[in-house]
Symmetry: C3
Subunit: 211 residues, 3 copies
Amino acid sequence: MMNQDVIIKVIELLGTFAFAISGIRHAAAKHFDWFGGYVCGIAVAIGGGTIRDVILDVPIFWMTTPIYMICTAVALLTVAFLSKWMEPLKNAWFVFDTFGLALFTIAGIQRSLDAGQAFWVAIIMGCITGAAGGVIRDVLLNNEPVIFHKEIYAMACVVGGLAYWGGIELGVPVGITAVVSFVVTCLIRFLAVRYHISLPILQGEEKSDGD
Amino acid sequence: MMNQDVIIKVIELLGTFAFAISGIRHAAAKHFDWFGGYVCGIAVAIGGGTIRDVILDVPIFWMTTPIYMICTAVALLTVAFLSKWMEPLKNAWFVFDTFGLALFTIAGIQRSLDAGQAFWVAIIMGCITGAAGGVIRDVLLNNEPVIFHKEIYAMACVVGGLAYWGGIELGVPVGITAVVSFVVTCLIRFLAVRYHISLPILQGEEKSDGD
Amino acid sequence: MMNQDVIIKVIELLGTFAFAISGIRHAAAKHFDWFGGYVCGIAVAIGGGTIRDVILDVPIFWMTTPIYMICTAVALLTVAFLSKWMEPLKNAWFVFDTFGLALFTIAGIQRSLDAGQAFWVAIIMGCITGAAGGVIRDVLLNNEPVIFHKEIYAMACVVGGLAYWGGIELGVPVGITAVVSFVVTCLIRFLAVRYHISLPILQGEEKSDGD
């Protein structure tokens, strides 16, 4: 029988892999070379967690094991040689990506609470862990960050984080709280993409006057 | 009677609010959603101070109180619902923004000196505290940073910082030094915008050869 | 007779100068002002090392001496006033830039090993020290990072780092190892530019579907 730690580890690796794939495919769309693709993959896979750990002033998570670097290298080879086989798996990547998002959010929250931070800080850190990597990717690719004007993405982390907070406040055991938070984050993301649910758009005029 | 700390606190909140407004309005001009607007507002309001605290290796200033997050949320609601009423207040935002710039610069200098840094480092940190948030905003918005080719902005922080340095070296009490530095920074910024004073532009050819 | 430390110091200053020149010339091509040029010069000269030191959680290297700021200021004056004289020196800048790349890589590796990191982390840090500054420059200039789709650049750091690793593992004295690593990095870079050697390009379709 698989125990809980193994399940979490497997989800984390699948999530890291899906995040890396996302970065590398975007890099491929811009005709970056292998190195550029690898950096974009790494940026999505570990960028958010790195910012989190730097801000929390705790050891950077990926420096204790090369597994994230290896996982991204496998993702690079997959995109480089198997991209034709990837198209039919599109929905699988999306599911893994969402699992990664939810799990990274929870990992970010827990790491922040362990570092003695308040819950509102932990939720921000969960959101950064899940969503900041994609922003770094878009900045490196010279694109406008997609999470700022598409289907709900980062807000799923925030609501999942609030669910986590609620569970802990209500005295629900941490394992159940984590599962509920995971499900809430995934559900919001799935529903948002399925029904094209977006946040309201801000209306503004083109600025040409500086400030 | 209001005491000095209250005045500083009020200026800081007005400055944070004006900085957040700046980020959110730029995001609105690119039709970002509410989340994107909030992130751009946060980036301007706390981005510079966060970089400063990370480089100084001191606790990140905004993690001790949710006031900056709340202030940015109010700014978001203001832009979302009251943008028509904001146009006539254009000059007020500009004044608050400049006050924020000057106060953030001084706060950055003082925090760096408290951390045991040399004065030239403190001036750089003051400049980062005041001006780096706007650069992060422009990077997120996929624009060229406006402070790199418009009216004098960051140089006002540098000159204000030099005034602070001079005051301390001359033995002027720190309160008076701070006020002088504040006035110098604001004055330079106001004059630069009023009379369209810019730094000289660098002349160069379009680079198409890579490095 | 010059001793080893003086040689390293001279190479480091020439490298910093060449890196700063690279940032300022790119800024000039976009018609940034002096401040924007200085920031871009600083970004290339010290950006990589700053990210390295933040991630390693060690004191930031440039805060102990103003030499890097002064060196960049001299580079700014050089570009501003002597740009006509610089064109014939194009090859010299390229050589200095490559020396800087190789030396920064080695410095990054050594600093990481001193901080108790594993060798694979040290090689990544060497690569960041040498190459991340140019990426920050391109992000600030709103360009796609040139090292992601041009001649081999960052991979020269990686191979030079592997040479360093091999030398240490084989028990070669650290001085000789460093020289070999330096020569390997420079040689790869020179050959890549001379014969237009690039990494394979990733093939992908334009993404218009968001994720």
